[in-house]
């Protein structure tokens, strides 16, 4: 195999479409999901379907953990033989220790350039960066292409319940969201910081409306994708609606993996995008 100039590495929370992985030779390092004493590698040991079945049956919520520095070092070490450098694009440091592990892993492969990108985001927003980076001419322009977009990444999501996100502790503490005896459908946004509460409609239909309204406020966009956790019909509805408004933008549909699914719970629908 001819030495390529550089390669892209990411982690399983990018929910990278399989086609892109194959086309660009992107390496995916799995995070881990722990159900009690059983540990699974995200996207490797457990399909999405299996995961949500286990999630529904689990007495207590699973825990998730970042890959170890060694996991990253192993991948970088292998790639060292195949290319001249790596851009490693990861789950945000605002959400996970994954970036930290990647940096430590990079230090272990001295003399081989590994540029770690802290996306401060998750899922398809990361996947878009992976694709854009992979299409760059060289490592430096790949890193630059990622960095100039970091402030424009956003994820909006409608959850079916606050329960999972609340247990996961990644949402900005909003006492009045967690004290409610009334059920509502949280709409949250991730834009470089903690997950922010945006809206709490009481019905799903209104939630989908709210999701789209908040998205429209961020137009125009360079890229957009619709993600879902066990909600393909709603995701398709959202895609169709958006496609009408944005005929020139390709709109992907993706499925959230186990790690992200642990925090969103089933029924989540999200929009991942890069603002223009």
């Amino acid at each position: 195999m001819a030495r390529s100039r550089f390669r892209v590495v990411t982690d399983s929370t990018a929910d990278l479409p399989e086609a892109w992985r194959k086309q660009y030779g992107i390496e995916v390092v799995p995070l881990r999901v722990h159900f009690g004493n059983e540990t699974y590698k995200d996207g490797v040991d457990l399909t999405n379907k299996e995961f949500f079945e286990k999630l529904a049956a689990a007495a207590e919520l699973p825990k998730t953990s970042a890959p170890s520095p060694g996991d990253f070092a192993e991948v970088y070490e292998r790639l060292r033989k195949e290319c001249d450098g790596v851009v490693s694009i990861h789950l945000g440091s605002n959400l996970s220790a994954t970036v930290e592990s990647a940096r430590l892993g990079a230090q272990a492969v001295a003399g081989f350039p590994v540029e770690v990108v802290d996306t401060r985001s998750v899922t398809m927003a990361m996947a878009f960066l992976c694709q854009i980076a992979a299409q760059a001419a060289d490592l430096d322009s790949a890193v630059a292409a990622c960095e100039e977009r970091l402030d424009r990444l956003a994820v909006l999501a409608l959850l079916d319940t606050l329960r999972y996100l609340q247990m996961g502790g990644r949402i900005r503490k909003v006492e009045y969201w967690v004290g409610s005896v009334l059920d509502f459908k949280p709409v949250v946004k991730l834009e470089g910081g903690p997950i922010e509460p945006i809206d709490r409609p009481r019905t799903r239909a209104r939630g989908l409306k709210s999701l789209l309204e908040h998205f429209r406020a961020d137009l125009p966009v360079e890229r957009v994708g619709v993600m879902h956790a066990q909600a393909p019909a709603d995701a398709e509805r959202v895609r169709e609606e958006l496609q009408k408004e944005l005929p020139d933008v390709p709109i992907e549909i993706g499925v959230t993996g186990a790690v992200l699914g642990t925090h969103t719970g089933p029924g989540a629908v999200g929009l991942c995008y890069i603002r223009k």
Partner: protein, 563 residues
């Protein structure tokens, strides 16, 4: 008329000064006290919120509270005190309008020592104008019309060459009565129910009391005392301010099956200015007594006491025992503390009016910083709401009245505080809940206001209760005891059981496009009623989700929201 002796010169005054105005207002208070039930009974709507008389009385009482101690001779001073007091104590729509009447009057007499008949007439006219200005959509056939006719008649009488203070007020009383009697021709809802407007009648009674003091002997010829009046009001007016006042004692009794009449009699016997209102579950007590401990001991034998307040009126020394005896359902309190623990991004607080422990808890759980107790039959006063607004740790506050009859009183709060207060004019509890749900800490107040008002508009409210008498309103004929449903404040359906009536109401709203029915269970609802209702809803609307919450509200066995 005969020549006046010096002692009776007060009865035929040439001018109105501060002390005469004070005595006259005390006369009004006394006369309204005697007629309170009569005013309450005029309530036109077949739901049990007959509290117009009580609200006006509480408002007037608050107006008079501030002037009792005053020896001021200047009418401007007494009028200003009455305006301030009534504003602070304003309850219900009629109460708030009454406070605006006082305010307009006070503004007009600013700087004046005393009023000539012509000046008095001008002030009465200006008082009515102020009341009109205070109401966003003035409705004819209400207290406003009566106030205006009072002003007009006073002006006409003052223009007569031999005009006196008496002739002006007498003309005003006559006009008030005529205007009140005429209200059914102006408002269809009064016509259908066969009554005159309660607020208008209340104002008429107040003015009658005023006249009775100013002109005790002549008044009896002019006015026929209603049957309800027991003691001679003019005499009572003189008695009222003479004695020592002791302690102003106020509290709520929470209990079950309480005998309101008996408790009223017992407590009234322990003091004066007794005002005991409520129902078998909750009674609000206000009494002036020299033995507050005796009153409290008696009441604590009946039920749980809350909101206990004892003011030593001579020392103006206030002891607040609030919270010393928590109510039956104190579960909501800790949540409120938790909610207040962290400052908010946008620095905006939330205050809501809620009736019922369950509803209070829901509001607090949703992030409401302070909940003012009150609702359908116990409209909170402007001051109650002001206190709550002042108590939250934010300089900008949203205030949600959650009841059509509280909106006006809430509207007075912004100008009484340095804080920026925004009113979201919610008319029902579910509207308030929808508005609070839409509140977002990441947005400034203006954006929240729009979102909250929009959210309130989208929820449909069905209030379910029993008709208190045979009636006909909004074209729906009801018999006493019928289950009735009000959709967004308007009587729409009646029938024999909860399930049938609520299903009809949901159908009336048109369930397409809605997803969720929330049933807030009231205090009076039995388990069997609840299951009958939820089964009917699940059967009739299989596509809608039905959620049950404990509302704990009185008078409405169920409040149902559809969204």
């Amino acid at each position: 008329m005969k020549t006046e002796s010096s002692t009776s010169s007060r009865m035929r005054p040439e001018v109105v000064d501060g002390q005469l105005f004070k005595q006259a207002l005390l006369g009004s208070l006394s006369w309204l006290t005697s007629n309170q039930e009569e005013v309450n009974r005029l309530n036109v709507f077949p739901v049990p919120d007959g509290d117009t008389g009580t609200n006006m009385l509480l408002t007037l009482q608050s107006a008079v509270e501030d002037i009792r101690e005053s020896e001021a001779r200047e009418i401007s001073k007494i009028a200003a005190l009455a305006a301030h007091g009534s504003l602070m104590g304003a309850r219900g729509n009629s109460g708030v309008i009454l406070s605006q009447i006082f305010r307009g009057f006070a503004k007009h007499v600013q700087g004046k020592q005393q009023l000539t008949p012509a000046e008095l007439a001008d002030a009465l006219e200006e008082a009515a104008n102020a009341a009109y200005r205070a109401v966003i959509k003035p409705t004819e056939g209400t207290i406003l019309t009566v106030a205006r006719e009072i002003g007009k008649a006073a002006k006409a009488a003052a223009a007569e060459s031999n005009a006196t203070v008496n002739s002006v007020i007498r003309a005003a009383v006559r006009a008030a009565k005529a205007a009140t009697d005429n209200t059914p021709t102006q408002l269809a809802i009064l016509r259908e129910a066969g009554v005159v407007d309660a607020g208008g009648y209340g104002l008429q009674v107040i003015l009658e009391g005023f006249l009775r003091t100013v002109e005790a002997s002549d008044a009896d010829q002019l006015l026929k005392a209603p049957a309800a009046a027991k003691a001679g009001p003019a005499q009572a007016a003189l008695e009222l301010p003479e004695e020592g006042w002791g302690y102003c004692t106020e509290f709520l009794i929470e209990g079950g099956d309480m005998d309101v009449e008996k408790i009223r009699e017992e407590i009234a016997a322990m003091g004066n200015s007794a005002l005991i209102v409520g129902d078998p579950d909750l009674i609000r007590v206000h009494v002036h007594t020299n033995e507050p401990t005796k009153v409290l001991a008696y009441a604590s034998g009946i039920g749980n006491l809350t909101k206990t307040k004892v003011d030593d009126m001579s020392k103006q020394h206030r002891v607040i025992l609030q919270g010393a005896t928590p109510g039956q359902n104190g579960a909501s309190a800790p949540k409120a503390e938790a909610a207040a623990a962290q400052p908010r991004q946008n620095g905006v607080g939330l205050v809501a009016v809620a009736a019922g422990s369950g509803l209070s808890g829901i509001f607090k759980g949703l992030g409401t910083d302070a909940v003012v107790e009150g609702g359908q039959t116990m409209n909170p006063s402007t001051q109650d709401m002001l206190k709550a607004v002042e108590s939250v740790p934010y300089q900008e506050v949203f205030l949600l009245p959650n009841n059509a009859n509280v909106i006006l009183a809430a509207g007075q709060v912004p100008e009484l505080t340095k804080k920026r207060v925004h009113i979201v004019p919610t008319r029902t509890m579910p509207q308030g809940i929808a508005a609070v749900v839409a509140f977002n800490v990441g947005r400034p107040a203006e954006a929240n206001q729009a979102a909250m008002e929009e959210a309130a508009k989208q929820v449909q409210t069905i209030e379910v209760t029993h008709a208190v008498r045979d009636s006909r309103a909004e074209g729906v004929r009801v018999k006493k005891g019928d289950v009735i449903a009000l959709i967004n404040d308007k009587l729409k359906h009646s029938g024999q059981d909860y399930g049938e009536v609520v299903s009809d109401a949901v159908r009336g709203i048109g369930p397409d496009g809605y997803e969720l029915i929330t049933v807030y269970r009231g205090r009076e609802a039995k388990d069997a009623d609840l299951s009958q209702l939820t089964e009917a809803l699940q059967r009739d609307f299989p596509n809608l989700e039905v959620e049950v919450q404990d509302g704990g509200q009185q008078h409405y066995p169920f409040i149902v929201s559809v969204e």
